[in-house]
């Protein structure tokens, strides 16, 4: 780390900082300018004692040199992670991962119907909510256990991996029993206890970016999971909160190249939750693939106006199928396939 001293810092201040740093095992290298003194401190501690140093007399600012995540970083692992999610599907390689299905699992018949339709259109992973985070306590919260069983049945019938959300540490074991991929939703991206729990299981984790999380916080959430031994983390950009109200969230398309610069983990785009409106889903989906995403998560419903949740952002099956055709062509142009 680098310590920038105030203009009026005394010699005592400077030597006190150096002394404290050396107690922590850092080697210090002061640089004396005309006005300011700067101290370079070399050591391998991460995030330790920065606050302590910041509060010492005469210190103006402390600048970290190293990123706070380790296991998720490219410093540790250069090559892209390719994650096996079962049924022969991998995420992070040449073939794009397309998660599709209704927002919520509403009934056995409906989910099976949707699952068949999305598979036919080219999706390779099923999505569907059994536990639904809802802003209102009075809204439909999902079929829970029953929903999980329906999802499993459809996944087995179609031989596709299935992804569903877990919201509570008490449900991790249950969800892991039925799902191939465990989703951590945007609202739980910093539910640290839940992150630790899914870090202890042996299933890939689909980690949505928080509603207003920085990319660094998002990678720190991945680090939580990985620090418990589960390296199979898949990132999902689903839009961030901004002042703009014409879409529900603002899809941060730059997060795709930025995360690919910083981490070896694969990244999926979710245009449905970003847009909040089916009309904008195809444009955002195409943008995500053109920007280099490893896949997409798209909500599909045959009757959006009767959907138990998130109808306005769901594509009808025929529109989804048409979009898949377009996506296939864009994928090809950039050296991927669908």
């Amino acid at each position: 780390m680098i310590i920038i001293m105030k203009d009026n810092a005394s010699k005592q201040d400077i030597s006190a900082v150096e002394k404290r740093l050396s107690e922590f095992g850092f080697q210090t290298h002061p640089i004396f300018g005309e006005k300011k003194t700067v101290i370079g401190a070399i050591g391998d501690k991460r995030q330790i004692s920065m606050n302590e140093i910041l509060l010492m007399s005469g210190v103006e600012n402390v600048v970290p040199i190293m990123r706070p995540y380790k296991l998720a970083s490219k410093e540790l692992k250069q090559e892209k992670s390719v994650i096996d999610v079962g049924h022969g599907v991998t995420i992070g390689g040449k073939k794009l991962a397309v998660f599709a299905g209704p927002c919520a699992i509403e009934s056995r018949e409906h989910f099976l119907k949707m699952a068949r339709l999305v598979k036919e259109a080219g999706a390779n992973i099923l999505r569907g909510g059994a536990f639904k985070p809802r802003t209102s306590p009075y809204a439909f919260g999902g079929l829970e256990d029953e929903g999980l069983k329906i999802m499993r049945e459809a996944a087995d019938e179609l031989s596709m991996p299935a992804c569903t959300e877990v919201m509570d540490t008490r449900d991790v074991e249950l969800v892991a029993k039925y799902a191939d991929i465990i989703q951590i939703g945007a609202r739980n991206m910093q539910n640290f206890k839940l992150l630790r729990e899914v870090g202890k299981i042996n299933k890939p984790v689909f980690l949505k970016r928080g509603l207003a999380s920085t990319i660094e916080e998002w990678l720190m959430a991945a680090e939580y999971i990985m620090s418990e031994g589960n390296d199979n983390v898949i990132l999902c950009e689903r839009g961030i909160r901004t002042y703009e109200t014409s879409t529900r969230n603002t899809f941060d398309v730059s997060a795709i190249p930025v995360t690919q610069e910083l981490t070896h983990l694969p990244i999926i785009g979710d245009p449905s939750h970003a847009a909040g409106n089916y009309k904008y889903v195809p444009a955002i989906a195409k943008a995500a693939i053109a920007a280099g995403a490893d896949g997409l998560m798209i909500e599909v419903h045959d009757c959006p106006e009767c959907a138990a949740s998130d109808g306005p952002q769901s594509l009808k099956p025929d529109k989804f199928a048409a979009l898949m055709q377009e996506l296939g062509k864009i994928a090809e142009v950039i050296g991927k396939e669908i």
Copy 2:
């Protein structure tokens, strides 16, 4: 709700919308303009079927008339809620609530020392973290059970109520056993399972505003807790995420008059987490009281540079005591007391 039809909506579109609304028990009142038709729909459903109507042919927009929360609203209860938090302390009345203490409970000796100091300076509620949400998995996570016991001992010795955070549904029972007030942290404001759990217990809940939550979402989180039967919810404004980086968060001082317009629940200001820097804490604390807050939560530490967490935003005991003097005078001017 009000349904705004597109310019080119057909008669069939309009009558289909009216038909669907009447099936839901709404009375409809179409208004035919030169270009646009608007349909007023009167009924007592909240948030139901808005999406369905929005997706019908010819519909441009649907505007709700009523707010989505009920129990938390002033429509239901006009008079301000005054919440008894034990040991003779109430929140929401003339006397301000001042929560003070270190960010984390670090040891028995230290916490007792801090508790005595803040009481002496005029604080009437203890704060201290036993379970700490930390951005990094490698940072100090709190003393957990042991911390809870230390907090209880100090609270009993000083006859003050104590407030601490719960992060996991599995810990609600344990925390409720030791704490007088259960805190839901900013990162868990939309951890809906946790909200439901604390709604089922018989202790006041201190509900921090989410990192980037709207006031409406915050009141919906309160509604979650209240919908389970626990009406004793205390709101806490702790700064919101914006583009400005000179403070860790932007303290939304307007949230104080706005919530007082919308809800009967009391509101506390937390200048420490908003500022992220002790230098700005006094100014924000005074602002919050002048704006009408029902109290404050302030982090106090005798050695900020050795604090286990959040040192840079902690006030030293003497600065806290001086601030309490100033706050007392401002409180008096606006008809409150400390």
Copy 3:
């Protein structure tokens, strides 16, 4: 507009609102619910008297029905505007517009060299700043008049239209003399006097979205220009300000489909200013085209480390040429050409 009355609004309140609305020429249609009364008001005024009504006794809220812009809206003109910018180039049709060149015009030799290189790579419009808005008063502010002449010379030599920014009402005539397209920069999007001035001239206007402007405000800025008689407005999405710091701005890719839903004006993406870092420019450029943009503005410099401004976001000519190849393929897939 629709007027939502408070729960406790009196009959007098309601009839006073109706009376005032009818004085403004509105027809009123009250709808009496169990709790709330809502008044539909039909008339052709835009934005007039909403505030007046909002402040009347018993009024809770006023909801507009119509959008505040007219000339820029699709209500007025359904078909996409195709804007002739000279030298046989049009914007808004099948062929993509690619504006390229250095951030600032630095010298005659350098600009001519860059202009030839970008033309060779496939760009069809030149860009280069003669008047540069700089955050610091001590930074290079552009070659001004001399820069304009250099730009004109290059444009004539290569038979390409040229686009450059105007920052001051006093310079509009001068800039219009040399440029084919007049740029209004992000910082001047709500410089209303400047908007009116460029509305009076006979040259296409390239209107960048403000640093933190909503899409509605942006279209209102276009409306300013159009209200003076100049219909040739080209929108440019260049990233918006958010809390995320890994890129200089967040490229709002959704703005592409959203503006295409609301307005007939063409839209260009500027990945350079959004990213602030050349490494992310290709991904964002490809995303913008895949999302349906009518073109791109890209900064190109042969020596980014010696650039007079914005070096870090400039592509080197060979990288720009390679990107153009990729863009051509994506354009083809979505029915456009480069």
Copy 4:
């Protein structure tokens, strides 16, 4: 500045960076860590060549040590600036500055009436818009020259300084002829040509913070004005753009202590434009004073529902007078007076 090299930077990279820095007159001090090399560079250049260094081979990041503004900084001038605005009024001292009046100057009679009322209630500076920035080209844009004359007449009659906005470089001379204080509005905070023009005149400048400007950008805008020789800059916090919609902007109360830490310039709070709703104005006004602001700008109108602009945020004269009473008491508590 400090240069952080990439993990894999070569010796050649490092010496090339050192060579380039020394060409710019910097002394360099490399620090070799196990993984990373960091180079401290000491020199007195501000913001020069950072980009160049950033783009050199092997460079990961460049961290500035000094702030980009000089004249506005406390490094240059420790003591608070007290600005004489005429008629015996100063801003930045013990006595608070209270700017009050209608949003727009609507007529001679009305403005004189308002001016007398606000003076009677204790305001010491008049405000009123003659040139109004309006989002819509169809809205009232101000009385312009006639408005300026009305303002001057009222100011002379009441012997109060008057503040009004200038929006166009062409109007600076005219506005300076009539006004005692020249306002730069939020939308023009980065209209650099206008900043330079008002830097050349001999009147205090009231500089509103931009809609979504950082504090650093705001101080850089002050630096623009000061770099032309006009040191009499008064800052005004008027709310920033965030995702929260319950107020028009979010009043950044922390900006008060933060600017007082960074600059010697006085700071005024504008609760009217921040709130956008008169109901929240008193709470925010009291908060600003309690936080240490040097004064307030408040919109007052005797008939908000007939105001030509911004009616919903205007206080009626009796409410303004009552607020002034409360403000006086808070001022006293914190060692100021009204």
